[in-house]
Symmetry: C2
Subunit: 437 residues, 2 copies
């Protein structure tokens, strides 16, 4: 059984000379202040729990740097649909492998993939109706990171008009039972979990929403749903259903301790109360929310209400969970003109422990009983030098400061190099350029 020894590690406090014993993929004991035994694998620098990216659409990586033109979220969505149309299982696997490898280099050890690219372009199922989801499973394995595949129910084009537009045909199952049947054929493994998702109150009618929730809750799976990313969604929901998206999903039994609403940018005080009383979770994606002009979500109100916030790279304009954590604080500073709104330890938990719970993994902390998912930072990098504690890490660390990444006791990145995908830049280029050829 491998034993790890970290020069310095965050184990709920900062500690030096930390011995991390495992039974292979799980931590059995953590002891600070002991010298490294001869057979320990040494981790130099500063060890943290592996980062958890609780909301990803891997294929959006293809859009990075290509959507800078005037417009709004809805114009961006058209460009995103164009990329979606160019994918098949092989291209999807290649793109997701490269994207997940970029995540690994950034210290992400677990990703929640909110997956709705299910079928062929015209909506017909692949021979294996889960071919696209399985491509993601393969990709995560190739990149060495854990995956919660949040298989997403998508049924209609909008709240007022049920018709799917051409680009949306491949997202949709025939009905909620078809979705449930398809998902039932998927199964997890030691590094994969199957979870459920409702795309949004736009894409799933209230009755089907209730059924997805029943399925997910019944099998104790994580359940995710996009909620109130855009003010327009709220307006439509009030007009059509007489209540906010959060009120609607609460009404249909979607909320609960295994449920995570994604974004929650434009939620009301009543919505926040509903999330708090149902012990639901929120995943914020602040770099995407600024990229897409969504606005600044009420992170302080979530945390103040006892709601656990996790973080996601979502649209992949940036893959850097340190930047996400920092942006939670910085975006609110811009709005409130106050500093020090969030405790840095809470922000680090958002990037680790809270994400792990949202995705159903016993990971996210360097502690006995947790999976052995670790990363190290270079504390001598010009960015981090003199920032030795959690406040400093949240203030200054970037994806580029990650040196080593361990998932389930297996090193997947050493000294900034991915051991399974040797040239991540080339993998990204090869898998993306073909989509625009």
């Amino acid at each position: 059984m491998v034993t790890w020894h970290a020069e310095r590690a965050w184990i709920g406090a900062m500690a030096d000379d930390v011995l991390i014993e495992t039974d292979g993929d799980r931590i059995t004991a953590v002891t600070a202040g002991v010298p490294a035994p001869d057979d320990a694998v040494r981790l130099s620098g500063l060890a943290l729990p592996g980062l958890v990216n609780a909301h990803s659409h891997a294929f959006h990586r293809a859009l990075r740097g290509r959507t800078h033109e005037p417009g709004d979220f809805w114009r961006w969505r058209e460009l995103m649909y164009q990329v979606a149309s160019a994918l098949d299982p092989d291209r999807y696997r290649a793109l997701a492998t490269a994207t997940f490898a970029e995540m690994a280099l950034a210290g992400i050890t677990t990703v929640g993939e909110f997956h709705y690219l299910h079928h062929r372009s015209e909506g017909r199922a692949y021979e294996d109706p889960n071919a696209m989801g399985l491509a993601l499973v393969d990709a995560a394995r190739a990149a060495g990171i854990r995956l919660t595949l949040l298989d997403t129910c998508y049924l209609r084009g909008g709240m007022r008009n049920a018709d799917l537009d051409a680009a949306q045909l491949r997202f949709a199952d025939a009905d909620v039972d078809a979705w449930a049947g398809r998902v039932d054929a998927l199964s997890g493994n030691d590094t994969t979990k199957i979870g459920a998702a409702i795309h949004s109150v736009r894409a799933v009618d209230p009755g089907s929403m209730a059924r997805v929730a029943e399925v997910a809750h019944g099998s104790q799976q994580p359940l995710h749903i996009h909620v109130s990313e855009q003010a327009k969604e709220n307006e439509e929901c009030v007009a059509v259903f007489g209540m906010s998206p959060t009120e609607l999903v609460a009404d249909r039994g979607v909320l609960g301790p295994r449920t995570t609403i994604v974004h929650g940018t434009h939620v009301s005080a009543l919505d926040i109360e509903l999330l708090a009383t149902t012990r639901s979770r929120v995943c914020m994606c602040p770099t995407t929310e600024r990229d897409l002009g969504d606005g600044v979500g009420p992170a302080a109100a979530f945390v103040g209400g006892g709601i656990e916030v996790s973080l996601g790279s979502d649209g992949q304009s940036t893959i850097d969970l340190f930047e996400e954590a920092r942006a939670v604080e910085m975006n609110e500073r811009l709005i409130t003109e106050r500093r020090g709104i969030h405790d840095p330890v809470t922000l680090l938990a958002a990037a680790t422990d809270n994400g792990a719970r949202s995705l159903g993994w016993d990971a996210g902390a360097i502690a006995a009983g947790r999976l052995c998912d670790l990363i190290t930072l270079d504390p001598e990098s010009p960015r981090l030098a003199t920032c030795p504690d959690v406040a400093g890490i949240i203030a200054a660390a970037t994806a580029a400061d990650v040196r080593d990444v361990v998932v389930g006791g297996v090193a997947i990145v050493r000294d900034g190099r991915h051991l399974g995908v040797p040239d991540v830049g080339a993998a990204l280029k090869d898998s993306i350029e073909v989509l625009f050829a």
Copy 2:
């Protein structure tokens, strides 16, 4: 004379195989589409003009990661004053050398140092009254970057109460003539220019302000001034002088084509008109403005009014001009919920050409007649792969993607390593930890 050959370069357009001929420190000709002559120094990757950091307080680097506590700008200022009190010329030189070396690694080839730490802690002059400023000159030379030393006039503690508090004593000259006399003893060299600054409408009375402007304009020096970073400054200025800070400085002859107002976060439409009609410049520092909870400045209104915007790392919470350029766009997206507000080419100019003009250097572009200040990015980094054009660079590049840095035809960074300060992390640590010992 050294000739450079870039695989790909931004020369107002993206071009491949770019030959850059020099007479040593200045570019004499730029030709695209030619193979590399045998004697050319090859630059692999993507070459850009060197980045220009138009507003820096080098010593604030010591605060990175140490000010995360509840409060506002004014509380942060107390912490900053504590660090200021711990500096003497030797410590200042060491800290600034390390900080400027971090800038060099981030692709910054010119810095504007807004310098007001002039005297001993109790306010007495050093034997050489410019000992602190000369420490900055030494530091920039050691780090290999150009410096415009914006020697700052600081005379009083506030608009209502002229008394300096204890921490401010060392910032202040006896009066504006004492300031002018001291600055007169400074002189530039091939990589140093002397410019002037008025700290703010808080720290300099209107009469003295007019005199500083007269001196600076008379010698055609750059003149910088902090304006309207905080709403409180506006309120006080209106209460005491019956006009906004911008109106006040306009009234006293401070504005003009060599003048840069720094921040301008809380300016009015009339203020913007005054800046535009006087052909004044604005330096925005968006990562500092979010760190300090200043708010979001009206970048689109500045650009729309024909005002050239440059960028500064200011408080050094981040030293990454790509992030500054990106934040100009992203901060406005958060407020307006619109995308694509600024042309990426304009944002790149803010980080290069506009900064060079603000600081008085013929740099900031790869073009005949300009100083040969260049950087390269690694276009295969996981962040940048598939982002080959300016929109992609503004969307995705970070300081960590800078590989080579050339200042005046001399390489100061090669493959991400500083040639003059071999361990920048250690230099930062050594120079900062002593201040908190």
